[in-house]
């Protein structure tokens, strides 16, 4: 049994050209798949960061009754998807406005009265930061009689929704295209493998190797080739994301488990490739 392992390991280092091609095909597939997932991860992170800015601002009339406001805050907090409802007094709102203006804040120096209304700042829980849920909250807030105006970034939300939709459609389309490319690459590699190994398999049979022995050595070889391809692809993804993060812009990296999945995917591809390329040969006597 150990001999089969050693045999396959040496065997793959021997048929260099074929092994090389098979491993390169594996690496290419896993690399494109991995980079695709990396892009998706980053897009998701971007969407999340953008969504964090989603906020419903409820501007209150100057003479709003604080008791009513307090009740309203509780009611609004209980709406589906609402995370927090914060009250900003006129002074706090003015400070916030000043902070938002940044260097232009000296424009506010000459004001005699505070024109900035008090407001409620409503933030939504993740997963509820879309037009549907935000609009519900905004409508609820609008119905209150001490509310001057509700601003929920309608245009911003609309664009976000479109963006998310486009990403998911493009994502699905790209995934489909990549899968097709991967399958074509793998089957070409397998066909070439079948072609070039058929002589070797014939000799193995002539010399008296059982089908089991032949299958085992090819599978073990597929295992190692796949693992190597997976490891190299994982390394390349790591390298690319590191270099990108340092030289261009910080990006979200692969979680650690994903590197392991890449190696496992490689092993799976290697095993499947060997199994399929053997299939026809071993059915003949």
């Amino acid at each position: 049994m150990l001999r089969v392992f050693k045999e396959a390991f040496l065997g793959f280092s021997r048929s260099r050209t074929m092994s090389f091609f098979a491993i390169v095909a594996t690496i290419f597939n896993l690399l494109t798949l991995g980079l695709f997932v990396l892009v998706l991860l980053n897009l998701n992170a971007l969407i999340r960061r953008l969504e964090d800015k989603v906020e419903v601002v409820v501007y209150l009339k100057d003479k709003a009754d604080m008791a009513a406001v307090g009740i309203a805050i509780e009611d609004l907090s209980r709406l589906e998807g609402v995370d927090q409802v914060r009250y900003l007094s006129k002074d706090e709102a003015l400070e916030r406005f000043r902070a938002d203006l940044g260097p232009d804040s000296d424009l506010l120096q000459d004001l005699e009265t505070n024109p900035v209304p008090s407001s409620l700042s409503i933030t939504m829980k993740p997963g509820f930061r879309d037009t549907l849920h935000v609009k519900q909250v905004a409508l609820e807030a609008e119905s209150l009689n001490f509310v001057e105006e509700v601003d929920f970034g309608r245009e911003w939300l609309r664009r976000m929704d479109i963006f998310k939709h486009v990403v998911s459609v493009l994502g699905a389309a790209s995934a489909a295209v990549l899968s097709l490319v991967a399958i074509i690459l793998i089957s070409s590699a397998i066909k070439i493998a079948i072609f070039s190994r058929s002589k070797e398999i014939f000799i193995m049979k002539i010399v008296g190797a059982t089908n089991g022995y032949i299958r085992r050595s090819f599978l073990v070889e597929g295992f190692f080739k796949g693992a190597l391809g997976g490891a190299v692809a994982a390394g390349m993804i790591y390298g690319i994301s590191e270099i990108f993060s340092r030289k261009i812009i910080q990006i979200t990296r692969f979680p650690d488990e994903y590197y392991l999945f890449t190696v496992l995917a490689g092993v799976l591809m290697g095993l499947a490739g060997s199994w399929i390329s053997l299939g026809r040969h071993l059915r003949r006597v």
């Binding site: 021997r14 260099r16 014939f202 000799i203 049979k205 002539i206 010399v207 059982t210 089908n211 006597v285």
Partner: protein, 241 residues
């Protein structure tokens, strides 16, 4: 040891190729199997190493019958047949020594036994100094000797050679024939299938089986073949020319 009982066989697209073959090869015999190209010589060999099963009749090797042998037992039978081909059939990525060892590796022979048997067999074939060369570094004759060494290292009871000199020039061909005869004198049966009749020169007393049109038309000595009266049965077979 090898019996063909009224064997007929063909290929799906070509139809019948051999018809009513009856032959017997005893232990330790040296037999030439001759006939023009496509007369069915390779088919007879395929029946021997079980790549084909007869459509009718029976092929018996040692005690194993083509009727009863199970597919999974075939590899074990092949280990007792040493087979040599026209194109040598060596694995390009292995050295001579590794190619010969391969036949023992797939049959689960121990490392230590391989370490003794392989050098011994290489020595018999005069390949000791080429043990670490790759096939592309060997001449045609050396490659064929390596193939013979691989066939021999398993100690088969018959060595089957399918056009062993097909890719070799005349002097080397004679060298190879000489080796096969030597092997036979040491006790292994040898069956040489060939359409190169020059190999039979100087071997008049050897046994010859001649195929023509899919039937066995002669079974006797090499020298006896010159006389047409020795033909067995019909002269024309399934393929009438």
């Amino acid at each position: 040891m090898i019996h063909f009982k009224d064997v007929s066989v063909g290929y799906p697209r070509h139809g019948l190729v051999l018809e009513g073959i009856n032959l017997h090869i005893a232990k330790g015999e040296f037999v030439f199997l001759t006939g023009p190209t496509a007369s069915g010589k390779s088919t007879i060999l395929k029946l021997l190493y079980q790549e084909l099963r007869p459509w009718s009749g029976e092929v018996i090797i040692a005690d194993l019958s083509s009727r009863k042998i199970k597919k999974r037992k075939v590899p074990y039978l092949r280990r007792k047949l040493g087979i040599v081909f026209q194109d040598f059939g060596l694995l390009e990525e292995r050295t001579t020594s590794e190619n010969v060892a391969y036949a023992l590796e797939v049959t689960g022979v121990s490392r230590s036994e391989i370490r003794t048997r392989v050098p011994r067999t290489l020595n018999t074939l005069g390949l000791s100094n080429k043990a670490h060369c790759y096939p592309h570094q060997l001449s045609g004759g050396e490659q064929q000797r390596a193939a013979i060494a691989r066939a021999l290292v398993c100690e088969p009871f018959v060595l089957i050679a399918d056009e062993p000199t097909g890719n070799l020039d005349p002097e080397i061909s004679q060298e190879i024939m000489h080796i096969l005869v030597e092997i036979n004198t040491l006790g292994t049966a040898v069956l040489v299938a060939t359409h190169d009749y020059s190999l039979l020169n100087g071997r008049e007393k050897f046994r010859r089986l001649h195929l023509s049109g899919g039937t066995l038309v002669y079974d006797g000595s090499v020298e006896g073949f010159k006389a047409p009266d020795n033909f067995i049965g019909r002269q024309a077979g399934p393929h009438q020319s």
